[in-house]
């Protein structure tokens, strides 16, 4: 049987699942309303269920798998999870849901999900036919050809910039970059296209832009050079280069890698929208191994991002890393039990330790522009702001991201744990842990 003694999530964690602010506001209202019946939690895997009176004659059925987590509700809402599921989670978080035996409609859902997962695993395991293999090879060859042409063009463009001088680029706007990026998208090198697009705002980023732009152009030159000749590279580095160019690694291949089991702590999450595509970065840190990991997911407009990793929780799970010289991106291969609250993640690093880790990672992947750190110290406002560790060593925060006054208010000048992304321009705060609660940046 499950362990219904598992402490429920906090309201803050539930809020982290909400697709938008209005859903959560609606859920809060709904959670306090009458009209709930047959609520309970328990079963294997640990689940949460209930009936909620809606506008129709039959109440909505809400099922939540707390391990994955996954949601189902019979309401017609397109939001995911819907306000009913969120409201049920809120009721659970405030101790209003008792441990029960799951009703039939709950076990049916659980069973059907398990069956689907099994079928998918079988399909993935099935060997491909010879014809399929040949077709796949042809596609791969064609793609490689196209990417190679794109890389050659990029190298020429980079040389041209330096040949003619970059001094005028601050007058040129985004257009020169957009054109090159579009060409690289056509050449099926989306990673390079993204890297070129990230250059576009640099010339308008204020004093010192020339220095920053030359640095980025040079790294792109390094990448394009490596990508033009990957056979010359060690296997790990070649994998890093491929992923930076934008070549997808099949999920099966990642899952087949060596799993790393740990209590993975979700220390920060961040959503970004680039070119209509929303991406969610979930930063993990293993409590026992101290290893960082990034679970990245994407959603097209109208699609919902997965919400299975919740800030401020930890999860006993196996992760498999994408191949590379400084492995960071990973997939959750297997879970062992439901997530548990994690108000004080660790082990926290000193500034020196974090910089050592960043240096080692850069040695593997010189194109890194973000790396997660978990620092213990004092947040010091200023220009720029700093995080000062107990040894007195400090790291600046990226001034372009604005001043995190709310985090400063929570910290109150006392020592806190800061989850942040390291970047060349400084730290980007993700969350502050003051020992009892987590506050999202």
């Amino acid at each position: 049987m499950s362990e219904p003694t598992e402490p429920p999530w906090t309201a803050e964690q539930v809020q982290g699942l909400a697709p938008d602010a209005s859903s959560f506001a609606a859920a809060r209202k709904l959670a306090g309303a009458s009209g709930w019946s047959a609520t309970g939690h328990g079963g294997t895997p640990l689940g949460l269920w209930g009936l909620c009176k809606g506008s129709g004659s039959t109440p909505y059925q809400i099922c939540v798998d707390l391990v994955e987590p996954a949601y189902r509700c019979s309401c017609p809402s397109r939001k995911f999870p819907c306000k009913h599921a969120l409201a049920l989670l809120l009721r659970w978080s405030s101790g209003q849901v008792a441990a029960e035996e799951p009703p039939q409609w709950m076990t049916e859902w659980t069973t059907s999900r398990e069956a689907r997962a099994e079928k998918k695993a079988q399909q993935a395991a099935a060997p491909r036919t010879e014809a399929q293999e040949r077709a796949a090879q042809r596609r791969a060859d064609k793609r490689a050809e196209s990417v190679a042409a794109g890389i050659a063009e990029l190298r020429t463009w980079l040389s041209d910039q330096v040949r003619h001088g970059i001094a005028g680029l601050d007058q040129a706007g985004y257009r020169p970059f957009e054109q090159v990026a579009a060409r690289l998208v056509d050449a099926q090198a989306p990673g390079l296209a993204g890297a070129v697009r990230r250059l576009a705002p640099v010339p308008s980023s204020g004093p010192g832009w020339e220095q920053r732009l030359l640095g980025e152009l040079s790294l792109l030159h390094l990448l394009a050079g490596a990508a033009a000749n990957p056979e010359a590279l060690p296997e790990d580095l070649a994998a890093t280069v491929h992923s930076r160019v934008g070549q997808a690694v099949p999920t099966e291949q990642v899952l087949a890698g060596a799993p790393v089991r740990d209590r993975w702590q979700v220390v920060g999450t961040r959503d970004d929208t680039e070119d209509k595509l929303t991406s969610r970065r979930v930063w993990l840190r293993g409590r026992d191994t101290g290893r960082p990991a990034l679970v990245l997911s994407f959603a097209m407009p109208g699609q919902a991002l997965p919400v299975d990793l919740v800030l401020g929780t930890e999860l006993d799970a196996e992760l498999t890393y994408y191949p590379g010289a400084a492995p960071l991106r990973a997939l959750v291969a297997a879970r062992h039990g439901a997530p548990a609250p994690c108000p004080a993640p660790g082990p926290a690093q000193t500034v020196a330790q974090a910089l050592d880790e960043v240096g080692a990672a850069l040695a593997g992947d010189p194109w890194l522009f973000q790396w997660p750190v978990l620092l213990r110290g004092v947040l010091a406002p200023g220009s720029p702001w700093h995080l000062i560790d107990p040894d007195g060593d400090a790291l600046p925060l990226d001034p372009a991201l604005g001043e995190p006054w709310r985090l400063a208010a929570v910290a109150g000048g006392h020592e806190i744990t800061l989850a942040a992304e390291w970047g060349p321009a400084g730290l980007r705060p993700l969350a502050v842990y003051d020992g009892t609660e987590v506050v999202r940046a």
Binding site: A394, G412, G413
Partner: protein, 495 residues
């Protein structure tokens, strides 16, 4: 180590290698092994390779900075509000409620702050930035924001941008410097505070400055002496009446009017009584025929506003300023006097003057009697002014009774009833809302007032009423019920 290489590379990259070929002048350290030998001219690719080596080396070799630690905030002594209350405030401050408009959520946040401040509860640190921004745009909430922000608020404001400076220190008492160098408003405030502490010192300060002050400033400073007013002030105020500037005389007269036992009150009472006498139980009034020197000296204005006759103007002022207790010369109680017949010629001016007197002298007993007559005349401005000086309970009962007769007039009087409304007003409002057959003009207005006027403890009764109505009528009450429920929850969460 890499600074000189970098600047060589940078200057070529800026103008272009076509114009300036980069030559590595010197290098050492980790990048050395990856670069072309010293003295070689670099092509564009060579420049980019060298720049990449320097860039990666710099990033990987980042060293920790050193900087000043901030002083930590001191611990709070007051308790924090409950978790539910914190979530509530967070939602109100973000305006994240689709059902209510921005202004309403802001008002509700104001209510949260007032209650929490009253109960000595704190808002959690994560909300302080939102509260500082609220206070920066709306100075009326600053006192309560300061109260619920605790020591952390002042600490944060001290570190933060200048627009938060108002929260750094609790509002100081006015400083002596304000008197010497401050703006007129600061000087008035300083004098008022000094008078409240030490009336004699304030008086001396004012008399010393008197000759240099301009008329408008002096009038405002005299008015500030209302604080700590006592018999010792009569001599200098009497002297001020001899000033040739009307503003000064009027300011002095206002204070003498509220100084018990002043000679001014006595003079005004004598003037009023001289104009009125009783003949066969009827009050017969005669307006003065001239505004003599002594009237002018006592602050009576000579020139009437347009379309008002001189005598009416003088007479009305005399009645307005004459202490209301002078009328005991004719009758023991206000009701007694007002039950008399008033003569046709000047009687209406006498009545209007008495209304003004009740309002100006804030006499609740007179107002309570006069308002009943006012209801007949339906002069809303005057009714509201009278209502505002009535004792709260008397007004509540008056409005409750009026709600059963004329909803719109009662509604307009609700403006001046302090909130939460005293019984029996809420009961009368619910009764009025329940009577769907008799819906009158002013009903909507009534609902809007009731959202804020009701004590939230009435939420269950209001909901019961809502549930008992037919569906179309329920719709009309949704907003009222919602607001009352939210306010009810706010009160509960903060208890």
């Amino acid at each position: 180590m890499s600074t000189s290489i970098w600047s060589d590379l940078m200057s070529s990259a800026l103008v272009g290698t076509d114009r300036r070929r980069p030559v590595l002048s010197g290098l050492d350290g980790p990048p050395a092994g990856t670069l072309s030998p010293i003295g070689t001219e670099l092509d564009p690719d060579g420049l980019l390779s060298a720049a990449a080596a320097v860039t990666v080396t710099r990033r990987a070799g980042q060293v920790p900075a050193r900087t000043q630690r901030p002083d930590p905030a001191t611990a709070e002594t007051a308790p924090y509000a409950s978790a539910a209350a914190q979530q509530r405030l967070a939602a109100l401050l973000s305006g994240g409620d689709a059902e209510l408009d921005r202004t309403t959520t802001r008002d509700l946040a104001g209510e949260w702050l007032r209650i929490a401040a009253g109960r000595g509860l704190l808002a959690e640190p994560g909300l302080l930035v939102a509260l500082l921004d609220l206070g920066s745009s709306d100075s009326s909430v600053r006192p309560v924001v300061r109260a619920v922000g605790g020591t952390r608020l002042g600490w944060l404001a001290l570190q933060g941008p200048g627009r938060w400076a108002w929260a750094v220190q609790p509002e100081d008492a006015a400083q002596p410097a304000d008197w010497d160098t401050g703006r007129a408003a600061d000087r008035v405030r300083y004098l008022g505070e000094l008078r409240a502490r030490d009336a004699a010192a304030g008086r001396d300060l004012l008399l010393e400055a008197w000759p240099q002050e301009k008329a408008a400033d002096l009038a405002a400073l005299i008015a500030a002496c209302g604080a700590g007013l006592g018999p010792d002030d009569e001599p200098w105020l009497e002297k001020a009446l001899d000033d040739r500037r009307a503003q000064i005389r009027e300011a002095a007269a206002r204070l003498l009017a509220v100084l018990p036992g002043s000679a001014w009150r006595q003079r005004m009472a004598e003037r009023a009584l001289a104009c009125v006498h009783v003949a066969a139980r009827k009050l017969v009034a005669t307006a003065p025929t001239e505004c003599d020197e002594s009237m002018r000296r006592d602050g009576i204005s000579v020139k009437p506003p347009q379309s008002v006759g001189e005598r009416t103007h003088w007479f009305r002022q005399i009645i307005e300023y004459a202490p209301l207790d002078c009328w005991t010369a004719f009758d023991e109680t206000p009701a007694g006097l007002l039950s008399r017949k008033f003569d046709d010629t000047w009687g209406h001016v006498l009545r209007a003057g008495l209304n003004r007197a009740a309002i100006t002298q804030r006499d609740g007993a007179w107002a309570a009697v006069l308002i009943h007559e006012g209801l007949g005349r339906r002069d809303m401005n005057e009714l509201r002014e009278l209502a505002a000086v009535m004792p709260e309970q008397d007004l509540a009962e008056l409005i409750a009774a009026q709600l059963r007769r004329e909803v719109d007039i009662a509604t307009r009087l609700l403006d001046v009833l302090p909130t939460p409304w005293a019984a029996p007003v809420p009961e009368a409002v619910l009764e009025c809302l329940a009577d769907t057959q008799r819906r009158r003009s002013g009903w909507w207005q009534l609902l809007r007032h009731a959202e804020w006027g009701f004590d939230p403890a009435y939420a269950p009764q209001a909901r019961a009423l809502h549930d008992s109505l037919p569906i179309p009528d329920q719709q009309l009450l949704v907003r009222f019920i919602t607001m009352l429920q939210i306010r009810h929850d706010i009160h509960q969460e903060l208890s």
